[in-house]
Assembly symmetry: C2
DNA sequence: CTGAAAGCGCTTACAG
DNA sequence: CTGAAAGCGCTTACAG
């Protein structure tokens, strides 16, 4: 006797369930999978037996047989971050609609962990993986050669061997910069990663930075290094630290574009702390339109895109990839838009923000 | 040929792996499970064969055989909430340390979904479930009779049939109320659920409310209904709406205890919006010490407890429960403490907040 | 339309 | 210390 005691209903399709219903396992299976060709009466008999025995199918067995578990993996650097939490929430809602289960894993932004997750996807009983990588060049996707599992990348990775869903972060960065300038800013600073000197220009942050440079340049303004602050941790703490660093430099600036909303919230805090007013002295914006963004003080201007849409596309791509591994890799762009809130309100005509800022 | 093409390494322990290594499946298994009694030389042979074939064990098969999947389910109302995101992050870190995988599910605070998750735990290939229920009286735990899977509850549920981990919310509520009063407040309002008239006094919110009443009463102050606002959604939006409702009542209050940090952040926003200053006019506090709490403006006084500790205890209880279903249910209390920040700074001696507030 | 049988990849009694 | 065999619960060719 190997099964758990009190757990006889495990053996339904090939066990006592068919005895109760008086049909073959094949018929039970037909009922379960909804296959055609089961008489109404037979179906009813099987279903009542299932209820009577409180039958629940054993997905491990089904998974073993089918090579599918019905579970997909979702990997990101840190669920605790506001943006990640929002995306994860959207993912779970969509997954629930579709009846798929989600196994979550964190990579802590470590390429090694990204690599492990992909190479162990099979082991982890997931049919595929939706991965939000952070750094490309040393990341797993570069090493995906040996029998990669179905993988969909989320994010602005310049990568053409894998399906991916992305927002055009370069265009979004430009949009932010132009918005700040149109609101009256002349010295626009940025808080983010992927700055000059860093290796990962191709990734999200690099694109946002490039877009920023595009934007200020198109408006005929400079984008000097002194206005660019590297933020290591894309968290509120990281943003606050980055903002303090910028203030310490004692260079003039009248707007700050933070490359995530969390960074922007940290920046807002550090500005408050320093007695710098937003938007009177400095305009601030973020990226992602996290839930909290509309409730900071002042409310935060940000680049928004539909998180559910983002996730839905990723799950579609993954489902298609699981069904057919031979199709060529595809990339789906999710539209974005700037949501202007009070943190970037234009100054009254003729108003000049206090010097030194 | 049923296996995926190019996937021959699945059949290792009882397949070609043992041929390559020239040993029996039993020996391979001994190596895999780290059992004693395998000669060093043999072990090395097996391990090199595993590397050569790029072997990864098939957990579905192992799960089918063992009745264990190595996956545990984690269910909560909404991962998008700051507190949930933080707990989830802690959960994933602890799970990673321990080599267990986490399947996340949302209940949307619907008792039906809580019930479904528990009753389908087996189906979902999880060895057990850590559940953060929201409403007890119509919740699943009341119906847990028929072969419940191993379940650990997280939260202040008054429930003695299931293992659980909790914070003493009643004591924490009292602590908050006493703190406010000690800081000079006399008319302390609350923003939360579980208020008089609601059915779920037993749950978290009800305990926090009861603690608040304990606290103001012990200090000889009243806790009138007019100072208690029901907040349906425990989100920032919900908190802002609740605060606006309180302002609309036009009753005097000089402190607000919000029953979660998210609610407190919404309250802070609505107070700003109304031009009410914190802490000069009104003191504010929250619960949970979410990441953002130290970075609101002003920084938020809150009740903190160690999220990793919380999660670790829950996973310990679950592991023990999975190993032995016969032990009696246990409850573990996680210590808490009040973290005072600027949002509840005492008024200067003799200062009287503007009337009407 | 339905039945009997094999097999997915593991692990563990049970013999040697 | 090691080998041969059975079985976990499902599903799907393959026959009837």
């Amino acid at each position: 006797m190997q099964g758990l005691p009190g757990d006889p209903d495990h053996a339904f399709a090939a066990g006592e369930g068919d005895l109760v219903a008086g049909v073959s396992p094949k018929t039970v299976s037909n009922v379960l999978t909804g296959a055609a060709g089961v008489r109404q009466q037979t179906r009813a008999k099987v279903e009542s037996a299932m209820v009577e025995l409180d039958f629940v199918p054993n997905l491990s067995a089904r998974g073993l047989r089918n090579g599918r578990s019905g579970v997909i993996g979702f990997a990101l650097p840190d669920v605790g971050t506001a943006f990640s939490a929002s995306i994860t929430h959207a993912m779970l809602e969509v997954a629930h609609e579709r009846g798929v289960m989600i196994q979550i894993e964190e990579t802590a932004a470590e390429p090694e962990r990204e690599y492990d997750l992909v190479s162990r996807a099979r082991t982890h009983q997931v049919d595929g993986l939706i991965l939000n990588p952070v750094r490309l060049e040393d990341s797993v996707v570069e090493r995906l050669d040996h029998l990669p599992p179905p993988v969909v990348l989320i994010g602005e990775v310049e990568q053409h061997r894998t399906d991916r869903v992305f927002v055009n972060s370069r265009a979004a960065g430009r949009l932010s910069a132009e918005h700040m300038i149109d609101q009256g800013a002349r010295r626009v600073a940025v808080l983010g990663g992927g700055l000059a000197g860093s290796e990962d220009r191709k990734a999200t942050m690099g694109q946002r930075l490039q877009g920023y440079i595009d934007g200020v340049t198109r408006r005929g303004l400079p984008a000097p290094d002194e206005l660019q602050v590297e933020v290591i941790e894309w968290t509120i703490e990281g943003g606050a630290a980055g903002m303090r660093e910028l203030l310490r430099r004692e260079v003039a600036f009248d707007a700050v574009i933070a490359f995530t909303d969390s960074i922007a919230m940290g920046a807002l805090y550090a500005l408050h702390e320093a007695g710098v007013r937003v938007p009177e002295d400095v305009l601030v914006s973020g990226f992602d339109d996290v839930q909290h963004a509309a409730y900071t003080w002042p409310p935060l201007t940000t680049v928004r895109f539909d998180h559910h849409h983002y996730v839905r596309e990723a799950m579609d791509l993954l489902a298609e990839r699981i069904a057919d591994r031979s199709i060529g890799p595809r990339a789906v762009e999710i539209p974005h838009a700037l949501t202007a809130r009070r943190s970037s309100d234009a100054w009254p005509a003729g108003y000049v923000p206090p010097s030194g800022r």
